[in-house]
C-alpha cells in the first residue's frame, strides 16, 4: 500500500479523470462512444480513488508535496493528503463510482439533444476538482480548485439549457457560490495578513499570531463562505434550485458530495488550523445546524417536486452534520477533547452516510423522472408496480435518511444524539441550553423527516397512477439499477458494519492535532456493540438486525403455516363508499403535508389561494371546479435577498447618474478631481 500513497498515486488519479474529460470532448461527435469513454474513465478513476484513499487511511502515511509555480512564492500547487483529506477522497470516489455507473445508462436519453462530449468533460472535471479541493493545502490553489468545482458544476446545472428554470437556477447558484467565495477569499487574506502565507500548514503553525478578533472575523467569514456551499440556512437559497436542475447522477454528486466540501473546510479550519477556539464558535455552529436541519426538513415537506424535496433534505442533513461538528467545537473549547472527538466522529460518519443514501435517493428519483418525464410528485403514483426495483431502492434510501435502524443513517444520527446528550451535562450554562435546543431540533427533525419520506414514497410509488405517463413507465436499465442496488446495499452494510467503521473514523479524527492523544469515548465491543460517551449509551447493529429478522421470520412463519392454512385471500376493489374510486380521490403530496405546513405556518408562511368556479353564477351552490393552490412564500427571498438586491440596484441606478450624458458635467468632474487632488496634496 505504501507504493501508492505517494504523489504518483495522486497524479494517476487526476490523470484518469483528465483523460476522461478530454477524451469525451474529443469524441463528442459520437454520442455513445463519448459517453462510454467518460464513464469508463470516471469509473476507473473512482476505483483508483477508493484504493488510494483507503491506503492513506490504513497506513496513515500523509501524501504531501508541492509543485512551485513561477508566478509567485505565495502560490504553489501544494498537496497535503492526511487521513481527513483521504476520507473525503474516499467519499467523493465512492459516490462518483456509482454515479458514473449510473450515468452510462442514464445519459442515453440526452443523445442527439445535447452534446454528450461536453457533459463528459464537465462531469470528469467536476469530480477531479472536488478531489483537488480536499487535497489542496495552499489557499490560492485551494481557491482555484474550489472555483473550478463551482464553475464545472454550474455548467452541469445548466446542461439541460432549453429549460429556462435551469438557467435561472444555475444563475442563482453561481452568483451565490461566487459571493461565498469572496468571503472565503477574505478569510484567507486575513490569514495571509497575519501569518504571511497562504499555506495551510504555515497558517496552522502560526495561528497564534492571529489576534482573537481577527480569528472571530475569520470564523464568521468562513462559516458564511463555506456555509453557502454547504447550504446552511439562510445561505441555502441556491441549493433547492440548482441540485434538481442538473442531470440526476450529477445531482447525486452535488448533494451527496459537493456540499460536503464546505464542511471539510470548516473542519480543517476550525478544528485543524485555529485551535483553540472560543466557545461561541461551537455554539454558533450548533445554532446554524439546528436551524438548517429544522427548516430544511420543513421546506422539504412543502415540496412536491421530488428532486427539490431531496435537495431540501440535503440542507437538513448538512444541519445534522453541523450539529456533530458544533458539538465537537464546543467540547474542544470546554476542554473535553474526548467528547469533541465523539462529535467529530458523528459528523464524519453522517457525511459518509448522507453521501450514500442521498445519492441513492437522487439516482432513484432520476430513474423515476427518466420514465415519467416530470419532477412533479402529484403526477406520479403507483410506480411500485412498474418499477419495483427502483421503488425498493428508494425505500431503502428513505428508511436510511429517516434514520430507521438498521440502516446507516440511524447510527450516525445516534452518535450525533449522544454527543448532544453529553453536551447537556456540561457545566457551562449557555452551552447546556444550546445543546438542549440542538437536541430538540434534531429530535423534531427526525420525526419530520420520517413524515416527509412517507409522503415522498407514498405519493410516488403507492396507490394508483395519477397521470397517464406513469402507466408507460418501465423498470430502468441495468446500469441504473446496478448503481442504485449497490448504494442500497452500502446503505445497509454501513449500518450493520458501523462497529467496524467507527474505529476508522476515529483514526481520521485523531489525525487532527487537537485529538492526537485524546482518550476515546467511543468503543466497540466484540459483539459489535458501539458504546458512546464513556458507557453513556450503547447499541449493536448486528444484534438488532438479528433480533428483527428472527422475530420477523417467527411471526411470518407462525401466521402463515401454523395458524391458518385453510383460509383464502381474495383480490378485490378498494372500498370506495359506493362511488367509483379514481386516482383523483387519493391524497396528494401537498395534501399529505398540509396539516404540518399549517401547524408551522408561522415559519413557513404558506399562502392558500382558492378559486371556485360556479355552474350558475346566481345560485352559488354547485361549484363547477374548485382549485386550491398551497404555496410557500420565499421568506429569505423577500426578507433578506430581495431587499439586498433592491438596495444594490438602487445604488447602481444612483451611480448611473454619474453618466448623465452632459459633457459640461463630465468636464466639471475632471476639474473638480483636479482641484481636490491639488488641494489635498498641498
Amino acid at each position: 500500500m505504501d507504493t501508492i500513497t505517494n504523489q504518483t498515486g495522486l497524479f494517476v488519479l487526476l490523470l484518469l479523470f483528465s483523460a476522461g474529460a478530454l477524451g469525451s470532448l474529443v469524441l463528442r461527435k459520437h454520442d455513445a462512444l463519448s459517453n462510454e469513454w467518460s464513464g469508463l474513465f470516471s469509473i476507473a478513476g473512482s476505483l483508483w480513488g477508493l484504493f488510494f484513499a483507503l491506503s492513506v487511511i490504513i497506513t496513515g502515511h500523509d501524501v504531501s508535496f508541492a509543485v512551485e509555480t513561477a508566478f509567485s512564492p505565495l502560490f504553489s500547487l501544494a498537496f497535503h493528503i492526511d487521513r481527513l483529506s483521504a476520507f473525503f477522497i474516499f467519499v467523493v470516489s465512492l459516490i462518483a463510482l456509482f454515479s458514473s455507473v449510473y450515468g452510462i445508462g442514464y445519459v442515453k436519453h440526452f443523445y442527439k439533444t445535447y452534446s454528450i462530449g461536453v457533459l463528459g468533460l464537465f462531469y470528469n472535471l467536476f469530480i477531479a476538482a472536488m478531489l483537488l479541493v480536499v487535497s489542496a493545502s495552499n489557499g490560492i490553489f485551494f481557491l482555484i480548485a474550489w472555483e473550478i468545482m463551482s464553475v464545472t458544476s454550474y455548467f452541469l446545472v445548466v446542461y439541460d439549457r432549453n429549460d429556462e428554470g435551469n438557467i435561472k437556477a444555475g444563475f442563482l447558484y453561481l452568483i451565490m457560490t461566487h459571493a461565498g467565495t469572496a468571503f472565503i477569499i477574505l478569510s484567507f487574506l486575513l490569514f495571509y495578513k497575519y501569518t504571511g502565507s497562504f499555506d495551510f500548514e504555515t497558517v496552522r503553525a502560526n495561528a497564534a499570531l492571529i489576534p482573537l478578533t481577527v480569528k472571530n472575523a475569520v470564523f464568521l467569514l468562513a462559516l458564511i463562505g463555506f456555509g453557502t456551499k454547504a447550504g446552511i440556512v439562510p445561505f441555502h437559497i441556491w441549493l433547492p434550485g440548482a441540485h434538481p436542475a442538473a442531470p440526476s447522477h450529477v445531482s447525486a454528486l452535488m448533494s451527496g458530495v459537493m456540499i460536503k466540501t464546505g464542511i471539510y473546510m470548516l473542519i480543517r479550519i476550525f478544528l485543524g488550523m485555529l485551535q483553540p477556539v472560543p466557545i461561541w464558535w461551537g455554539l454558533t455552529v450548533l445554532a446554524a445546524g439546528s436551524v438548517s436541519s429544522l427548516l430544511g426538513v420543513l421546506y422539504a415537506l412543502t415540496e412536491h417536486d421530488i428532486k427539490r424535496l431531496l435537495a431540501y433534505h440535503s440542507i437538513e442533513n448538512i444541519g445534522i452534520i453541523l450539529l456533530g461538528l458544533g458539538s465537537a467545537l464546543t467540547f474542544s473549547s470546554l476542554g473535553m477533547p474526548s467528547l469533541a472527538l465523539l462529535g467529530l466522529i458523528a459528523a464524519l460518519f453522517h457525511i459518509l452516510n448522507h453521501a450514500v443514501f442521498k445519492s441513492l435517493l437522487f439516482l432513484s428519483a432520476g430513474s423515476v423522472i427518466n420514465e415519467t418525464h416530470t419532477r412533479n410528485m402529484e403526477e406520479y403514483g403507483g410506480l411500485i408496480r412498474f418499477m419495483p426495483q427502483t421503488a425498493f431502492f428508494f425505500l431503502v434510501g428513505a428508511m436510511a435518511i429517516s434514520a430507521l435502524p438498521p440502516f446507516n443513517g440511524f447510527f450516525s444520527e445516534w452518535l450525533t444524539f449522544q454527543s448532544l446528550f453529553k453536551g447537556i451535562a456540561v457545566p457551562d450554562f449557555s452551552a447546556k441550553w444550546m445543546f438542549i435546543l440542538a437536541a430538540g431540533a434534531l429530535a423534531f427533525t427526525g420525526g419530520l423527516a420520517l413524515a416527509c419520506f412517507v409522503k415522498a414514497f407514498g405519493a410516488t410509488f403507492l396507490a394508483r397512477p395519477r397521470s397517464p405517463e406513469v402507466a408507460h413507465a418501465k423498470e430502468s436499465r441495468l446500469t441504473l439499477r446496478a448503481a442504485m442496488g449497490a448504494l442500497a446495499a452500502l446503505s445497509f452494510l454501513f449500518g450493520i458494519c458501523s462497529g467496524y467503521l467507527i474505529p476508522f473514523l476515529e483514526s481520521i479524527g485523531r489525525d487532527l492535532d487537537a485529538f492526537r492523544n485524546t482518550p476515546s469515548f467511543v468503543s466497540v465491543s466484540p459483539e459489535q456493540s458501539i458504546t458512546a460517551g464513556g458507557g453513556f449509551a450503547s447499541v449493536s447493529a448486528p444484534a438488532f438486525l438479528f433480533i428483527f429478522i428472527a422475530v420477523f421470520i417467527i411471526v411470518s412463519f407462525t401466521v402463515k403455516y401454523l395458524i391458518n392454512r385453510s383460509q383464502r385471500v381474495k383480490i378485490g376493489e378498494t372500498w370506495d363508499c359506493g362511488t367509483d374510486l379514481t386516482p383523483r380521490m387519493e391524497i396528494t403530496a401537498t395534501g399529505f403535508a398540509r396539516s404540518i405546513i399549517l401547524i408551522f405556518k408561522g415559519v413557513l408562511k404558506p399562502s392558500i389561494q382558492k378559486e371556485i368556479e360556479y355552474n350558475d353564477s346566481r345560485s352559488r351552490y354547485l361549484p363547477k371546479t374548485r382549485t386550491v393552490i398551497l404555496g410557500i412564500s420565499d421568506v429569505y427571498g423577500s426578507y433578506v435577498y430581495k431587499p439586498l438586491r433592491e438596495m444594490i440596484t438602487r445604488l447602481s441606478l444612483r451611480t448611473k447618474d454619474i453618466q448623465s450624458g452632459n459633457i459640461n458635467v463630465y468636464i466639471s468632474y475632471i476639474f473638480i478631481a483636479l482641484v481636490i487632488a491639488l488641494f489635498w496634496v498641498l
Binding site: A70, F71, S72, L74, F75, I140, L143, I144, A145, W146, E147, I148, V151, V158, R161, E164, I167, G170, F171, L174, I175, H178, A179, A182, I185, L186, L189, L190, Y192, K193, F198, I648, T649, L651, S652, L653, T655, K656, I658, Q659, I663, Y666, I667, Y669, I670, I672, A673, L674, A677, L678, V681, L682
Partner: protein
Amino acid sequence: MELPIILTSFLVSALIGISVRHRRLIEASSIAASAVAFVESILVSLKVASSGSYVPFSFFYVDSLGAIVMLIIACVGLAVAVYSVEYLRQETAKGIIGLTRVRQYFVLMDLFIAAMFLAVTAGSPIVTWISIEATTLSTAFLISFYNKPSAMEAAWKYLIINSIGLLLGFFGTLLYFIPLTSLQGSGFVSWQLLAANTAHFDPLIAKIAFVFVLIGYWTKAGLVPMHTWLPDAHSKAPAPISALLSGVLLNVAFIMVLRFKNITDAVVGVSFSRNFLILFGVISMLVAALIILTQTNYKRLLAYSSIENMGIVSLGFGFGGIGAFAAILHMIYHALIKSTLFLSAGTVLLKYSSTKIARVTGVLAALTVTGILFLTAFLFITGTPPFGIFLTKIFILSAGIKTHPAVVLVALFSMVVLFVGFFKHVTAMSFGKTPEGIKAGEGSVWLVVPPLALIAAASYLSFHVPGFLFALINGAAAHY
C-alpha cells in the same frame, strides 16, 4: 532598426489606403503591416528582456514595461487587423458601409496603431504626448464611423474630454522639466534625463506635476471620474476599434502615468503616488461594477468592465510589491481578453444587429463558437480559475491586505457585484431562444479565428509565462 520599420510599415500601409482603391490590396497591406509589427515587436522585447532596456537612437526608448505594452499592441493589433477585414466585408454585404469608408477605416486604423507604437517607444515625454494626442485624432473619426447622431455625440465627447485631459497632462509634463531649466542647451529631453535629474526637483512641484499628469493621462486611460467619455466611445466605435481602444489604448495611456510616477517617487517617496493610485483604482472598480449591474447595452458593459480592470491595475501598482507584478500580468490578460470580448461582441452585433442586451438571446444556439468564446472570456475576465486573472486579483488583494484592508474589502465587494452584473447579462444573452429571423451559424471562420487566437494566448499565459516575458514583467515590476 525595428522601431522605424514598424512605424514605416504602418505609414506605408496608410499611404496605400489613401492612394489605392483596390480593396484586397488595402486589406492585405494593413495585415502585412500588423504582421511586420508583430514580428519586430517580439524582436524588440527579446532585446529588452536580455538587456533591461533598448535605446536604438536617442529618439527611442523602450523599457520593460514599454516592451510589454508593445507586445500587447502588436498582438491585439494583428488580431484586430485580421478580424477587421472580414468584419467590414460583412458590413459591406449588409449595406452598412461602402468602399470609401473601408479605406478610411484602414488608413485611420494604421495611423492609430502606429501612434500607439510611437507613444510607448518614444524617448521623449513630449513626443509621447504628441503621439497620444495623435491617437485621439486618428480615432475620433473611427468612433463616429457609422455617422449616426449617437456616434457623433460619442466622438465629440471623446475629442473634447480627451483634449482637455491631455492638455492637463501636457502641463504636468512641462512641470517635470523644471529641474532641467538649469541644464542649458539640452534640446531634447528624454525619459532617462528626467529620471536622472530628480535631485534638484522641488517636492511640492513634483507633487503638483504628478497630479496634473495623473488626471490628464488617466482621462485617456479611463479612470473614474475622468472616464465619462469611455463607455460612449467604446460602444459606438466599430467592434474591432473598440477592441483596440479598450484592450490597448488604455494601457498605453496608463503606463505614461507610471513613468512619471517613478520620477515623482524618486523625489517625494512612494506613498504619495500610491495613495492616488489606490484611491482612483478603488473608485473606478466600485463605480464600474455598480453601473454594470443595471447595464442594458453589452458594448457599454464591456467598456465599463475595462474601467474596472484599469482600476484593478491601478490598485495593483498602488499596493506595490507583488501587486505591481500582478498588475502588469493583469494588464496583459485584460488586453487580450477584452479584445476577445469586443471581437466576439462584434460578431454578435453582426448577427443580431443590436447592441441591446434585451434583444440578444440564445447566442449559444445561434453562434455556438462565438458564444462559447464570449462565455469563456467572461469567466476569464471576472477572475474565474483556472484563468490567470484570478491569480492576479488574488495577488493584488494580498498585496493590499496588510496596509489597506478597507480598500481590499471594497475591491472584493466590487468584484462580486461586477461578477453578478456581468453574469446576469451574459446569461441573458447566451441562453434562451434565438429571436425569430436569426439564422444559426457563424458568418465566417475569420470572425472566429482572431478572438480564438487571443483567448488561446491568454489561456496559455495563465499557465505558463515564457521566459523572456517573465523577465520583462519582473524587470518592470521591480520599479514599482
